[in-house]
Every structure is written in structure tokens, then in C-alpha cells.
Symmetry: D2
Subunit: 275 residues, 4 copies
């Protein structure tokens, strides 16, 4: 399956401001690209790209005062299969985890592992370890938290989600990620494209989405406490400890978002060009 990906984002910039953008697909998907995946900027300014410590492709630029436009359109090949699942995937004991995975056990800004550990043990301590436990966490979060766009706020943490029981996709994932870490299961927060492929009714305007990955049986697996069922066509963009690490754009000064369009459509007949 081919998926057309893209975005068109505009900001009003009152004064020149440095911006970091995580708007490319993650390194694990670059081999699937069928067109170049290049962040375009108007006006044309110098863009520095670099990999951060999580392996994310980052771009930074100094936005001049005025309107700033970030946009892109690319094409990616996808398996067309729903999220992979292996209910037999086992937890690795902490001493067997790769060292670069250990950081995903720690507390972070929006994932207060220290504050929710007892609750996690009480809720999930008797579930079967491994895949079943992560699934139990997703089921719980999915059933207990109510989705609503007007419940979004940038300061909301996993504990807030636990107490308020309302949120957007990022909030569902933060709580699930935190519960996993509380139980010594490495979990990382991710963002990416998620279209409505295979979804009978897609009720919301397209946006980037957040889901999470848990480390089981020696690899990262996709989980999504917001939708809580396998989906087709996820394209990973960035990974991190939580939303603080993988903001689509981080402005170190004042900017005002004026347009935000995301495209992620299955391409049925389009002739592909090679990247």
C-alpha cells in the first residue's frame, strides 16, 4: 500500500524565533519512502538537521518575523497490515534489557512513574506479565478515560489523566506509558501519521497522532490506548520519553499557529516515483 503523507503548517511570528521541528519520518521508515521526505520552509531559511539522542530526525531554523510556513508532501510504502501483535511476546527482566532501552523505565515530565507505581501494581500486578499486561493497561486506560478535543492542555500529566479521566490521544498514551514503566516494562511515547484507513467512520479532521511502544520480547511493539485496536497505516515520526521530547514543533519564543493541515491518504492508482 502506498500512502501520501504531508502537512501544511503556518505560524505568525511577531519576532524572529528559533524553532525545532520533528517533521520527518523516523529512521526505521526511511527505507519505505518512495519520494524524498524534505521539510520545506517559506520563507526560505537555512535549516540545520541533526539526530537527537532518541534517534529523531530534527530540523532547526531561525524563523524571521512574518508568516512562517512548514510543509511537505511525500509518499511511503506501507505493509497495509494492521499493527503487528504477538500475545506471546514476553517481558524481559530489567537485567536483560539493552542498555539504551533502560531510559524508558524512568520518570519524565508527563509520566510520573514515582507517583503512580503503587496504583499500577494494585491495578495490574496480578495480570500475566508481558503482552497481556500491556494489553490490560491499554484496556483499562481506554475504558476509563473519556476522549474529547476540548480536554487537551499542554501541562496535563499522567497523574492528571488518572484523576480527571479525560483527555486527547497524548493523554491516553502518557497514562499507559507511565503504568508500563511502573511495572518495569520499557515504554516510549511516539508521534506519527495515522490515517483513517480501514476505519468505517473517521470523525475528526486529520492530525498527527500519538501512540506508544512497549519493549517486549526484544523489540518495540506498537500500542495505542486511545484507539485500543490494531490500525493500518501508522507512520512513525518521532520517539521519546513523553510529549516534551517529541513536540512536532518547539518554538523558543512567541509564535501563533494559524493553519494546521495534515494529509495521510491511501494512494490507490498513483504512479510511484522512486525516492
Amino acid at each position: 500500500m502506498l500512502i501520501r503523507l504531508g502537512y501544511d503548517i503556518k505560524f505568525e511570528v511577531p519576532n524572529s524565533v528559533p524553532i525545532v521541528a520533528l517533521l520527518n519520518v523516523y529512521q526505521s521508515r526511511t527505507q519505505d519512502l518512495r519520494e524524498p521526505d524534505i521539510l520545506r520552509v517559506e520563507p526560505e531559511v537555512k535549516i540545520d538537521t541533526y539526530l537527537d539522542s532518541f534517534g529523531n530526525q530534527c530540523a532547526r531554523l531561525l524563523a524571521p518575523a512574518g508568516e512562517l510556513r512548514l510543509y511537505n508532501s511525500t509518499l511511503i510504502e506501507d505493509s497495509g497490515e494492521p499493527d503487528a501483535a504477538d500475545p506471546s511476546a514476553a517481558e524481559l527482566p530489567v537485567e536483560k534489557l539493552p542498555t539504551d532501552v533502560l531510559q524508558y523505565l524512568l520518570a519524565s515530565r508527563y509520566c510520573e512513574v514515582d507517583l503512580l507505581s503503587n496504583t499500577a501494581v494494585e491495578l495490574f500486578g496480578n495480570t500475566s506479565p508481558g503482552w497481556g499486561r500491556v494489553k490490560a493497561i491499554c484496556d483499562w486506560v481506554y475504558s476509563k478515560v473519556v476522549f474529547g478535543y476540548n480536554y487537551a492542555r499542554s501541562t496535563k500529566t499522567a497523574l492528571d489523566v488518572y484523576t480527571e479521566r479525560m483527555g486527547v490521544c497524548r493523554d491516553f498514551q502518557h497514562l499507559a506509558v507511565t503504568f508500563c514503566r511502573c511495572l518495569n516494562i520499557p515504554a516510549r511515547y511516539v508521534t506519527g501519521y495515522l490515517g483513517d484507513i480501514g476505519v468505517p467512520i473517521a470523525p475528526y479532521p486529520m492530525d498527527f497522532s500519538a501512540w506508544f511502544e512497549a519493549y517486549l520480547g526484544g523489540r518495540w511493539w506498537t500500542f495505542d490506548a486511545r484507539h485500543n485496536k490494531p490500525r493500518i497505516g501508522r507512520v512513525l515520526m518521532a520517539v521519546g520519553r513523553d510529549a516534551a521530547d517529541v513536540a512536532i514543533t518547539t518554538s523558543f519564543g512567541i509564535t501563533k499557529l494559524t493553519q494546521f493541515t495534515v494529509v495521510t491518504d491511501e494512494v490507490k492508482q498513483e504512479a510511484t516515483t522512486t525516492a
Copy 2:
């Protein structure tokens, strides 16, 4: 100046538990070592060492049930000079910062940049940028927060310190680090040895200490909102976003600390051996 460094830490371990320890000197100081810097463990167990994404020398081990002892004694050469200071050190604009420094502008578990940004601007927005601003932050935190060992708690965040105005060294640094980041000055939390060299009266039993580093004029500088004056003999061990990243030991299960001794003494006549 030569400084003898060491520690002797004991835990009761009811059941086998994986532990990560950050008990070596930081890479920036290894060339100053005059004896090997080797974490010793009783009983003897396999120790895996690795560098984490912050450049910290980490050790991990699976502690068996019973008593666990972590200890070390090493010798390091030190300038004997107080913390370096350069009041002319300037802030770099964000777009000029090295990419690996950018992460130290973000919010983290104990440093809620998002929640304290307005306060930081109100308190320090009119101070002169650069060294003077970081100094103003340290002065403020030092004068407003009351030190007390009984004010320690593992869940205390920078916002808690701001509202409660009580804490231990880690709390002073978390608040100062957060204010720096709020003002786009990269700041990282660090731990290390800090003896009482040059301090008339050293009122407390020796412990590891926390201070912080701010990135000014193209390098990291030592600051310490707890003591707020230059000190002699700091030996850096680990750096991170906040205390969650640089815990001396992280146990992924139950352990009980039964002994905790830290040594950091100036050695006047001791013959040195070469590391």
C-alpha cells in the same frame, strides 16, 4: 591538590533485584584520576558497564538476595581552585547552541519548565542576560528556599520547591535549573563529590552533592544555588536533565539502604600511584 574519593554503601535485598549505579567520576574527569576508579561489589556479581545518552558511566548488576555492598576508593587530582567563574560569559541564542545541548532546554520530571515560565520571566526577565541572569537566579533561590534535611522527599519538583520554599540541595538545583530553561538558558542537573575543603565549619555528614551547570559562552559552567558561592574540590560524577536521570543507584525492585558513607578528603602527604 589530591582528593581521596570513596563510598561504602550497603543495602538489604529481600529478593534478587536489578540495580543501575552511577558511581564513577564523569568522563570529563577521568584524566585526573591517580588511582583506578572501579565500583566494587560484594558479593561478587557480574557488572555491565555502559555509557548512557548523557555520557554517564553506568554500571548495572543483578543483586542477589542478601546484603549488597557497593564501595570504592580512588584518588583524583584537582586544581584546588574554586569553581571557575566568568561574569562576561554570554548567553548563546538558541539557534547557536550545539544540538546536543538543546535537550537541556526542555521540561523534565522535576523541572516543569511549562509551569514556571511566566514566573521566571517576571522575576528575571529584566536582569542582564548571560552570567548575571544565572547568578540572579541562584541568588534568588538561595535567599528564598530554606535548607533542611527533613525537607527531602523523592517526589518534590521545582514547582513544589517554588511553593514550599524548603528543600535539600537537589531541590535548590531543580528550581534554579528550571528557571534557567524557562529563560532559554540550557541547564543540567549534576551530582558529584563535594567535600568541605575551604569551608570553616562543615556541619553535615559527608554525602554526595547535587549542583547544576549552565551553558554560557560555549561551555558548561558550575553553579550551586544551595551554597551559592564558589567551592573547592567538586568532582563531577553524572549529568542529566534532573535527579531522575542521575540517581546514584536505581533499584528496579525493593531494597533497603542500611549504610551510606561517602569520603572526599584532601590528601596532604599521601604518595600517589598512577591510575
Copy 3:
């Protein structure tokens, strides 16, 4: 000036649920009523009325399953004058305050006096005591907090408002009330009718409003950190420590608000009837 007051509120009630409503004018305004002020309920159920410890006229009822409608229309005479002000009104020292006023110095659910005391002293400790200090608090809150209906959430406290700087009218008042109490000025949160009389452009649909009262010079005075200028036509309904005490309706079970209309209009030619 005559003002027509009223409301028409509907709930869906899945299962019979007890409700407490504070939907009458406060005792200080009953002598101004020109029509009866009677909470009407559909379906007709028994209503118990009582005064709570704050002097609020409360009604409670057991709502049966189905649709519940609470409505009323009454007429009140108003001075037509803007909020009274006396910049010479002085603070009473705590030892001179009436005993029933002392409770309005204490911390409450949404007013964390203990957490904001240092901040209050730092921000307002040098302002002139009395009216000027309360005014300085209102000016600060008004200038620092951004109003937006989508910033409402029922769990938001004064500290949240201080850190997030966004809110609805209740949030502005909670922060101002807290600052007053931190400085030993009794302050209470109030709700009532506030129309758009004398306001050139009234941009929002009519709602009940929240403001606050500070105790100065031996009496309660109206302040409003949300609008921060004298208004005409406030009609007080309920007073309390904070929004927890003066919720318009408190349902002890599940209800769903389906309609919410508030009327508060100046009546130019209407013939009045006597209450």
C-alpha cells in the same frame, strides 16, 4: 433600575439523583425583589429549602429519572450604579475582624493559601495596605491571566491559574481571593447574575458569573479580577470560600446538562408588580 432575572436549565437524569441548587438571590438582596424569587422544577417534586453556614438560600430535591428542568423568572430593583468603591477603605488587623469573617482567611479546595503565600508577599507586600492592595491584586491577575471559555476545567485551582495563566471568570477570582487571604485580607468567592448593562459590546452568551468580595473597613466590597472595572447590575446569589461551596447545582450522581439559559436584562418600560 429594574432587572429581569431568570434561568432555564435542563438535565438528563438517567437515575434518580439528589441535587442541591443555589439558584436564589442572596439574603442581602431579597428586599430588592419586585417579584417572587421561586425556583420552579419540572417535573414537580418536593423541594426542601434551607440556609447553609454561609447564609446561602439552598434548595434540595430528589430528581427522578428523566428530564429535569429548573427555571425561574423574577424582577429586582437595582441602584443602577456601578460597583461601590472606596479607595480609602482600610484593612482591619486580624484581631479586629468579626469572628464570622475569619473563615475567609483560610485555605480551601481551590484557594491554596499555604502554597501561594510567599508569592503573594513578593508580589504585593510593598503595595499600600487596604483597598490599594486588593486593587493591585486585581490588576495583576487581570493583566497576567488570559480569558478563554475553553480554558475551563472543574479541577483548576488558584495555583493552576498562577502557573497556567489561562482561565474563565472563576479562575481569575480564585487566584485573586487566594492572594488576598495570603495577605490576611478576608476574601470570599461569590456567584451571581451579571448582565451586560453599560457594556458596549457583550461578546458572550449570558451565563451566571463569579466575582469576589474583600472585607475592608468593616464591610464586604465587590471586586472582579476578570473584568477589573466597575460594572452595573450585579445581583448576588451565593457566597462561600470558593467554587466548591457555591456551585449553582451539585448533583450527587450522574446528570447531563442539556440546556443552560440565563437572563439578566434591564427592563425599561415593564410595569412592576410587588413581590
Copy 4:
């Protein structure tokens, strides 16, 4: 049984400061007094006494600069029986509660009913209503929270206790009170004398104690999530929504506690005098 009650409390007062003290027995116990229950103050200053809205006997005074001493010794008759219990005491539906009891269902400074409601329903929603439910709450809090004097802090709320699982007696009661209110059981926080009568080993120096009362079957019953077993010799002093309402002393300015002695001893042979 006769119990000698008393206290001897000293403060250093740098500048004249108003103080409110709740240092008398509650009105429900005045008929048991066998000696006068009079707060004595050195130096002699005017004391105003009044009942607050919870029915507490309050005293207020203006402490001059210097040392302030508050002391008292009185004698009370007690049943000598353990806390009364009636496992058949039923919950009253909210619509049957006396109106003055309704306030004990609301959220307050240290009892965030709004934040813990879902958790309360999940933990206790399936327990039998009434006495059994309150008992289940006490059992849970008692078993999950670890007692330690060094865990005390004045800003700790029920949610903090739920996440940190450490506290002093006040913290145990705040969490239990909150859970009760979440489930529509009125609960109030109380303070009083609690000696070690009938307790084999009394490990701590005598202090005032906190427990709570739940409203079941038409009256208030004593519960104590900290000790979680019936005790002999409680003497109620003050009731309120939470610790903010019933502080033993509230100073509206700076004071430093220098002595704190509480006496509550069974009197075996002492001749009684009539109050």
C-alpha cells in the same frame, strides 16, 4: 474513668501577632468535664472566645512580642469504653441527610473529592454500603499508607497521600475522609486528645491526634484510619472539613514553636472536683 487532660505550648513571637486557638474540648464533651476547661495564657492578654460555624470553641488573642505560653489542665470523665461501633449502621441517601451535614460531602483544601472520585468508586464501589464501606476504606488506607513522623508536611493533600503512601495521622484521615465523601458518605476531620490507655506499648511522645467521623444511621461515628482499631479515651476538641479548619493554633504572622507538651493520662485515685 477520669482522664487528666492538658497542654503546655510555648511560642517565640518576634512581633505582635493575632492567634486563633482551638484548645478546648468540643461542645459534645463539656458535660463530662470535672474541672473547668480554661485556656490560660502568659503573658495575660485579652482572650475572645466564640463558636465557629462548625461549633468549635475558638479563642483568639493578640500575642505580644516575646514568649507566649498557652496551657491548661482539666479533668474529664470518660466511659472508659472503646470507640462505639455498629456494623449495622446504614448510609443515609443524600436526600435524607440533615442539611448541616451536607457540607461534609464537599471538596476541601486537603480533601480533593473531585480528583479521587473515580478511584474511590473503583476501590470501594463493590463493598457493602454503610459501616462496611467506611471500614473497607479504613482498612485500605491503614494497609497501604506507611506511618512516619518525618513524612509530615503541612501542604500534603489526600491525593498526595494516595500517590506517596506515607504520612502522619492527619494524612491517613484526609485520605479516608476524601474516599468517604467521594462515595456520598459525609465525613469530617477531627482533632482531640488520644492517650495510650489500653495500648500495650505507646511508642511516641504524647501529642494531639487526628481521627475522623463518618455520618451513618443518623449520627456521627468515630473512625481512625491511622490506628484502625477501637481505642479508649478519645476526647474530641474540634471538627471541620479538614486540617485547615481545625488547626490547634493558627498564627496570622510569624511565630516559632519552642515547646509542645500534651498530657492525657488516666487518673486512678485522684479526688475529683466538680466543674
